[in-house]
Symmetry: C2
Subunit: 678 residues, 2 copies
Amino acid sequence: MDFIIYIPPIAGVVGLVTAYIMYRAMVRYPAAEGRPSEIAELIRAGAKAFMSRELQLIAASVAVIAVALLLSPLGAATTASFLVGAVASALAGFLGMMAATKANVRTTTAARDKGMNTALTVAFFGGSVMGLVLASLGLLGLGLLYVVFGTDPHTAEEIHGFAMGAGVVALFYRVGGGIFTKSADVGADLVGKVEAGIPEDDPRNPGVIADNVGDNVGDVAGMGSDIFESTNGATIATVALATVLVVEAGDAAGVNIGGSMVPAMSLMSLPLLLSSLGLLCSIAAIFAVKASAGRAPATALRIGTFAAAGGFVILSLFLMRWVGVGFGTWWAVLVGSVGGVIIGLSTEYYTGGKPVRHIARSGETGPATVIIAGLSVGMQSVVIPIFTIGAMIFVANLTSGLYGVGIAAVSMLATVAMTMAIDAYGPVADNAGGIAEMSAMGPETRVITDELDEVGNTTAAIGKGFAIGAAALAALTLINAYIAIVSERIDGFSLNISDPDVLIGMFIGGSLPFLVAAITMNAVGDAAFEMIEEIRRQFREIPGLLEGKAEPDAVRCVDIATKAAVKKMLLPAAIAVLSPVIVGFGFGAESLGGFLGGALLGAVLLALTMANAGGAWDNAKKYVEQGNHGGKGSEAHAANVVGDTVGDPLKDTSGPSMNILINVMAIVSLVIAPLLTS
Amino acid sequence: MDFIIYIPPIAGVVGLVTAYIMYRAMVRYPAAEGRPSEIAELIRAGAKAFMSRELQLIAASVAVIAVALLLSPLGAATTASFLVGAVASALAGFLGMMAATKANVRTTTAARDKGMNTALTVAFFGGSVMGLVLASLGLLGLGLLYVVFGTDPHTAEEIHGFAMGAGVVALFYRVGGGIFTKSADVGADLVGKVEAGIPEDDPRNPGVIADNVGDNVGDVAGMGSDIFESTNGATIATVALATVLVVEAGDAAGVNIGGSMVPAMSLMSLPLLLSSLGLLCSIAAIFAVKASAGRAPATALRIGTFAAAGGFVILSLFLMRWVGVGFGTWWAVLVGSVGGVIIGLSTEYYTGGKPVRHIARSGETGPATVIIAGLSVGMQSVVIPIFTIGAMIFVANLTSGLYGVGIAAVSMLATVAMTMAIDAYGPVADNAGGIAEMSAMGPETRVITDELDEVGNTTAAIGKGFAIGAAALAALTLINAYIAIVSERIDGFSLNISDPDVLIGMFIGGSLPFLVAAITMNAVGDAAFEMIEEIRRQFREIPGLLEGKAEPDAVRCVDIATKAAVKKMLLPAAIAVLSPVIVGFGFGAESLGGFLGGALLGAVLLALTMANAGGAWDNAKKYVEQGNHGGKGSEAHAANVVGDTVGDPLKDTSGPSMNILINVMAIVSLVIAPLLTS
């Protein structure tokens, strides 16, 4: 059965071809000439400009780390894996973003000329390029590395570098993109809506282009690279756990797991095979959605998601039987998939249900009560996901040990092409609305894009919950792999909480997510402050701007956001990459284990709190705008606008940074693990 | 040397006598007749009314728990200890509060008739009653229990009930008091200052009496019982750790700790002896401050604090030599005392330094940026305290093991009579200002009380940082004692993070502080909403109220806050008491261990974030009111008022609830530990 090692890269190629087909299908839709296309070009140029600045910084950082890896005992193979991972991640985010910046104006045009359904289809096609590319590039890159290096326990360790490369790039994409998008958004909103009294996305506002650029660099490229890292991190960590089991089993015919003797090759290949199956299920679902284009696509999207996940869960049973993995391990697949759905639904409730109406009502007594209510909703929202993750770990471990926990993580992320297709649809719809507003299309177009945007907000919130859950499980699997690899080498290695070394590590680890959240939040605040000064200056100094007779200097605003993001992303990145190295070499493998445990806990709790509070504030404002509690212009509305603005950096900058922070910490630890024990 | 067991209760009696002397000295100062005394009487009556309602609920809960304990295998001795602890805690908070409600109007009177120095002296005398009573009742109650039950390893376990009794009462005092005080404060502020445009503490505002009652029930009784629990929890846990060491050593002449053989009796008595020494040092410092009354008392206060701590550290060296404890353990005493100071100074910086000016400046771009900046400051502020706690654990463990970590906790809390004297001074000064405003004293009186209040705010912020640090170390020692007691009974008991049972416990434990924070925050929001409706109703329906021609119905507002607090404190209390029982008996001792670790981490991080963000917002508003960024009435001021209001429940309700939450969880676990292993 050694040929199964070729399945993942082949699936990757199939996925890339599909991505190209979707891309072609999307660009065949027309983009309205004149103003809409000009604006789209501005957005596209801004996104490219930011990306090229960001990629310079990434290239420099990647080069430094690569040299360090090369000089370390980890050597050339790990360095090569690292570089492949970095390039694949950078490429996935970049390609997805380029597709999104083509899809936005086509969505606007479709909304104007063809109506809601076609517009939604175009946006979905745009998003599906991102989903397919990231799933496929992972399978292709990682699959080829296993083909080249083989699955010998030693060489398998060298592949850990892939996830580290992906993680470092994702860190910059996610944190940098997050800072960019929210400094532009907060800055443009505060001056535009609050001071100048002009609507959102008004073409007179110099910050609006930057805001729309931000959707692409933050919510498409940032989110995509984040999920790319989670997916591949979970896969690599599960393979690492399998490797340890194989080594422990010695010359036995296989490894006893999930109630049956599993051949070594199957055990190590299963994570990638599951991802391959998930990609194929996603492709089928995407084509099914495409085929039904034009007929109630919102329903089609939802059915597509569940079909992809359901098909994956059922087919995985056959896949596992085929490669000789017992029924017990299938429970891990099941809980992984179901757990992801539960976390998504919990997010939907907290960012769309009764808690949102409670926040909206608090607006009647001013902004302070809106903030208190929203913080409370965010904190409350951690409970269901945490208990769900706990239950997933319990079931997966019961049926097939820590390897099963890894399989649950991989399964949750297996149909990532489909989930990300819907997720990346959100920013495309958001952009489409911006372009409609800026090119002064009629209210009937704007109504459609608003509706699209609303669907997008819900999917984005669910996607965020899903991303946090997936990142948590991926990080946990990485940590388990770290522990397994260290335990292989140190007899009696144990991360006992009552050991002060472990405990101190746990405390320090737990504090760093708070520090990084603070840094990124502050970065947004400071950059927004600069942005506000610039927008005020333009309103003051450019004659005729407010009257719509002159053009704003949008490039200048893009530039401010770019500079701020590039400057401020370095410190969080350094903390994520260096802190495990310092703790590991300075205080030992035990402290580093405790450190990762504390960091995971802190990161997950903060990520859920911030993402859900932000989502709830956003929708509370929208709820008031629908005419409740006095509607637009009322005191309650003003109060809820404050909540929405506070939520912006929480849900789109600091919160999402947590996922990648803990994953990078864990993957760096896994990579250096062999060195800590010598 | 068996007589040393009598030292703690004797020190307790000395402390109580001193408290009475201070009380007599305080009430000898005159209380202005007429309006000021009437208002003080209203506040006092409101506080008593709330307390009696709260005590009914406490009595019922304590009775239920006592019956459960009695019926459990823990038996009568543990139940008796539990009841003694509950009564001592209830009494300490109550007596301290009664003294504070006598001191407030005397402080106002002194401010009017004698000036700043005398006013500060009176307020300090009032606060010192609280500090002395809580330190003394702990030593008396706990000391007598050891005299009665003896220090045999088995009976020592029965004394754990004392801390549990203290914890349950503190839970109600802290959470209930916190909800009461902030629903009144937020409600009164929002309608009074924001809507009706009348100043803080204006007599026309029906919510103002409730606000002033809240200072006493929340910041005096709540804070006092919280610290009472930390102090006694740390002491009991350290004795428990000593017990385990003594049992392990068997018939040996002593236990090898800190580089010397320590007699069993000395090892077990040291925590209480250190607390006794700390109380005596505090008494000396209080008398020194009293003797220098009238001459620059602000400086005297600060010198008094450092003198008490410094004297304690030096004299403890002699104490330890006398009872035969080696020099090594003295390092634990030193780091405990120094660590407390560092955490206090860090709090002072984050709630008074550059970060505050940064928040204030953010007000220029509206309330949203104030909130973002404040949240960021709060999150950042966790780093120094966490690293300090880590360093304390490291040094204490290095020199004398986990027992040393307990000794560090005990030492940090040893001079609690002095620290609490200054801490309880804050709400007295706050009340004094309220009484001055409500009885329409001249601006020159108000200037003095404002200054007193400002000193009080800084001391309160430092006191909060100190309380969090102390609570964290106390909880940690309780957890270590729990682990030690379980390990004694289960061979190979280990809390390995990679054990899924431990990990799941850790996740669930970490989520509960977020849940309790959300519940308490929401409770304040909801109660404030009701309060606002009531105050608006009174302004609408009571003719002549706004013109100052009619009296508001203050009792009704006190009643609303009382009902809200009583209703909403039950759920957090149930979570704190029952969750360890459910996790322990449902999932086992390993899960409970992980649970406590996660809960401790989550609670400490949240407590620091919320307390410091709240303190920083408070002072940012004050900074603007001093004339910066446009001063009072400016847009920046309005924005910073929003920050201050958001910060209120964070710093005075949810944040402080974290301390007692984790301590109650830990003490309940310690009490049930013997049952989990049978």
